[in-house]
């Protein structure tokens, strides 16, 4: 799912410096699962902000609330009454959640409290690895289930490049070469033919805002 990371508290404090009544809203979806923006983080952020404001001798009203998911309007409805008591909102959801909330409350400033990092997998508690860049044209079929767009530093489609360094990427000995892994996996599956052919340039899909309409629903939305 979407992985995010809390911003430094100073940055959040900066963005809300001019407001006195602040409601921090958590998200029970991805942000919660990756331990970045669930109820627990909302409470922690407010505690930190409270201490900072106290040290500056400022009294501010800090509210906290967590909704099921911020990326669906129906879950934001329950905030309608609450937000009336506040003059700005801090969202701990991914970029999508922040924007939907800003859209629902156009007169209220909404500030992000997390940086949306990636679409990734859970490796260990609190450690997540990026796996997908949502390029919109999945090539995993011929790359042995290893994404060159995400994992290769140069995102080449006809790798490995000449920078492969003892099985690692040229940019760091900590990073395994994606294309070496692709090669090894395809070789193991006897599928090297998949990368023998020259791969044509990518038709990048992620250049304009995309709206996804699933096929069975096409008749509803396309006239």
């Amino acid at each position: 799912m979407v992985k995010s990371k809390r911003k430094p508290v100073e940055e959040i404090q900066n963005s809300i410096a001019d407001f006195d009544k602040i409601l921090t809203v958590g998200c029970g979806g991805c942000a919660s699962v990756c331990l970045a923006g669930g109820q627990r983080e909302v409470n922690a952020l407010n505690a930190e902000l409270g201490l900072l404001f106290k040290s500056e001798k400022k009294t501010k009203k800090l509210g906290s609330y967590t909704v099921e998911r911020q990326c669906n309007m129906q879950f934001l409805v329950e905030l309608d009454e609450k937000v009336k008591d506040y003059d700005c909102l801090v969202s701990m959801a991914c970029g999508a959640g922040v924007q939907l909330m800003a859209e629902r409350y156009p007169t209220l400033p909404v500030f992000p409290a997390v940086n949306t990092v990636s679409i990734g997998v859970d490796r260990e508690i609190g450690m997540y690895e990026e796996k997908c860049r949502a390029c919109g044209e999945c090539v995993l079929a011929y790359t042995g289930g290893i994404c060159p767009v995400t994992r290769c530093a140069k995102g080449v489609f006809n790798g490995p490049c000449g920078g492969t360094n003892r099985g690692k990427c040229e940019i760091s000995q900590d990073i395994p070469c994606a294309w070496l892994d692709i090669f090894e996996r395809l070789k193991g599956q006897n599928r090297l033919d998949d990368i023998m052919k020259l791969q044509a340039p990518m038709q990048w899909q992620n250049q304009v805002q995309r709206t996804t309409v699933q096929e069975p629903y096409a008749r509803r939305y396309y006239k």
């Binding site: 140069k154 006809n158 490049c161 000449g162 360094n165 040229e170 020259l198």
Partner: protein, 308 residues
């Protein structure tokens, strides 16, 4: 003739090619380019003009190529995929050709993290292989990547790089085959130090008939010092320096290390002259341009043939 460049003429005539390399300045000094170029004039058939090499900002490759060309030296316009998308690349290719450039070297480019702007957005819209095929399409089909017609298409002699030493070794020859398939006319290899692996690779290329379809120029960089050899061995990705080379450099008197480095390079050149499948040498004398005449002299590749 595909492009009619000096290099193409020399290679098609069956001569053993000898090319050099020149890094553009990190500033606007034409004098700097001239100073470096004067050592190369008459001693090499063509000179590679690097494109923001190691991801450091330098004078653009096509601009430096123009200066070099005015001096009477044939440039090889390098283009990396890191800094431009397919539109900018095709535009530059048109412009470069219009100004009389005839050789192009298509590279993926070092990652931006190496350079002076480590957090720049790497473009990598297409990769080097797709770039080769794009230049070929422009030349042979007279079409842009999109398929639209080009009015008076650019005719480039297309080069690409190959690294016989990076992992996995058994895949390297297939990657060369892919580049040949994509349409490259000549290949310049990564610096060769491991001759055994190089011979093996060339033999495979011969066996697969790749050397009949493309010209392979072996990359040579003479070692200046033991420190450089050790750095190359441990720090430079994709370069393989066998311990014998380092031992050999360590075996001579301190003042004679550079001399020994040149000697090794000359021995390699001698061997490549005889090796079937190698069509020439690409000499990368990094910040050592003034030594090129001496190396060329001692490697007995002078005088360079003059084509009309």
């Amino acid at each position: 003739m595909k492009a009619g460049s000096n290099l193409e003429k020399i290679l098609t005539a069956g001569h053993f090619a000898f090319t050099g390399e020149l890094g553009p300045p990190r500033g606007t000094s034409i004098e700097h380019v001239k100073e470096k170029a004067q050592h190369l004039i008459g001693h090499v058939d063509m000179v590679n003009i690097t494109d923001n090499q190691t991801a450091m900002v330098r004078m653009s490759s096509w601009a430096a190529s123009m200066i070099v060309k005015e001096l009477g030296l044939e440039p090889n316009y390098q283009m990396v995929c890191r800094d431009r998308n397919r539109l900018a690349m095709q535009a530059d290719i048109l412009g470069a050709y219009a100004h009389g450039l005839r050789n192009i070297l298509c590279l993926t480019g070092d990652h931006q993290q190496f350079g002076d702007h480590p957090n720049a957005k790497g473009v990598f819209d297409i990769d080097s292989m797709q770039l080769v095929s794009m230049v070929k399409k422009m030349r042979d089909e007279g079409k842009f990547l999109s398929g639209e017609e080009i009015h008076e298409p650019p005719k480039f002699f297309i080069g690409a790089a190959a690294n016989p030493f990076a992992d996995p070794f058994e895949w390297r020859i297939h990657r060369l085959a892919k580049k040949v398939e994509a349409g490259c006319d000549f290949i310049q290899t990564q610096c060769v130090y491991n001759m055994k692996k190089m011979r093996e690779w060339i033999k495979m290329a011969n066996d697969m008939g790749l050397t009949d379809r493309t010209y392979i120029l072996a990359g040579i960089t003479p070692m200046k010092s033991i420190g450089m050899a050790k750095y190359m061995q441990s720090k430079v990705p994709g370069i393989e320096v066998p311990d014998e080379i380092i031992k050999r450099l360590q075996g001579v008197d301190k003042k004679m290390v550079a001399e020994e480095g040149i000697k090794i390079a000359c021995e390699q050149i001698e061997e490549f002259k005889e090796l079937k499948g190698v069509a020439g040498i690409h000499l990368m004398a990094i910040e050592w341009e003034h030594k090129v005449p001496e190396i060329a002299e001692r490697a007995k590749v002078l005088p360079r043939p003059v084509m009309d």
